[in-house]
């Protein structure tokens, strides 16, 4: 799946970087826990994803022990 082009802002920011740093967890480890490839997690982390499956969202929140609102925030907020 190709990521969003730079000029197609979604208005949503993914705080994956911040949450991983708070928990001292690497993207590789998260990939193992969640079952999503590092490439796709990187796409998510860099706000280049256009859509996310509920199953992926749920798995990430369980792995990071956080809520959806902790992970995804408005980009203009």
């Amino acid at each position: 799946m190709s990521p969003v082009a730079d000029d197609e802002a979604t208005g949503i920011h993914c705080r994956l970087d911040e949450l991983l740093a708070e928990r001292d967890m690497t993207l590789t480890r998260l990939s193992e826990l969640v079952g999503v490839s590092i490439v796709n997690l990187s796409v998510l982390k860099n706000d280049r994803a256009k859509a996310i499956r509920y199953s992926t969202l749920s798995a990430i929140c369980v792995a990071l022990d956080c809520g959806v609102g902790d992970l995804l925030v408005r980009a203009d907020a």
Binding site: M1, P3, V4, V36, A51, I52
Partner: protein, 246 residues
């Protein structure tokens, strides 16, 4: 010509076996794996080159050679009658039907008939090469992970038109050439015989055909290719819908 074709077929068979062994060894995932797609790509490319080349060769030789290998229709199904009575050997007899065409080598055929036959062979080669290239390009894109690209849909659409018009036109041209050959070979305006038997048919010769036979397989294949093009376009839309999905 037959010997050359035999050697080419043998070479194609060897190439197929070598490709099969190499690909299976490289990806031992059984049928349905990438190796099947890769094999289809290689074979279709090979077929495009060989069958296209053979087609052009046959088209040129129909114009340049002394004699032409041609399919010659006859007017009604023809069954040869023995020139003797009380035939010994056969335990059964034909009660109906016979040959309605013959694959023959004809010498002295007119230039027009040769040209039409050659043009039909060339068109046939174009049809075969087009389909082979479509298969090869589709497999190539599938191996790259881009199964649904607009180019493949366009190629499939073009291939459908080429098969429909090229396939039908090739049949018409070859059919007309065959009818001309039939007329030139089988039209009898007079005969002589050592003895005359008024009760026997004049020559026991098949009658020349008036109309070429037409088969509608190009229409069926064109419809399939059109459906394939629509499938690719639908897949492309689905792929766009899930672009950027994690």
């Amino acid at each position: 010509m037959v010997g050359v074709i035999g050697l080419v077929l043998l070479a194609l068979l060897v190439a197929i076996l070598v490709s099969l062994v190499r690909v299976v060894r490289a990806e031992p995932g059984g049928f349905g794996g990438r190796w099947v797609v890769d094999l289809a790509r290689r074979l279709s490319l090979l077929a495009a080159v060989i069958l296209g080349g053979l087609g052009i060769l046959r088209a040129v030789s129909s114009l340049a050679g002394d004699s032409v290998e041609i399919t010659m229709p006859v007017r009604t199904p023809y069954w040869p009658q023995p020139g003797v009575t009380n035939l010994i050997g056969p335990t059964a007899r034909v009660t109906d039907g016979g040959f309605d065409s013959a694959d023959v080598t004809v010498a002295g055929l007119s230039a027009t008939a040769r040209a039409l036959w050659g043009a039909g062979l060339a068109l046939q080669a174009v049809v075969v090469v087009t389909v082979c290239l479509l298969i090869s390009a589709s497999c190539q894109n599938l191996l790259r992970g881009n199964a649904f690209v607009p180019l493949i849909a366009r190629m499939a659409g073009v291939a459908a038109l080429v098969v429909l018009f090229g396939g039908l036109a090739a049949q018409v041209l070859q059919g007309i050439a065959g009818v001309m050959a039939s007329s030139q070979v089988l039209t009898v305006t007079g005969w002589t015989a050592p003895t005359v038997d008024a009760s026997a048919p004049e020559t026991n010769w098949p009658f020349p055909a008036h109309f070429p036979p037409i088969s509608w397989w190009p229409m069926g294949i064109a419809i399939l290719l059109g459906a394939f093009a629509a499938l690719i376009r639908y897949g492309e839309r689905l792929q766009r819908d899930v672009e950027g999905l994690v």
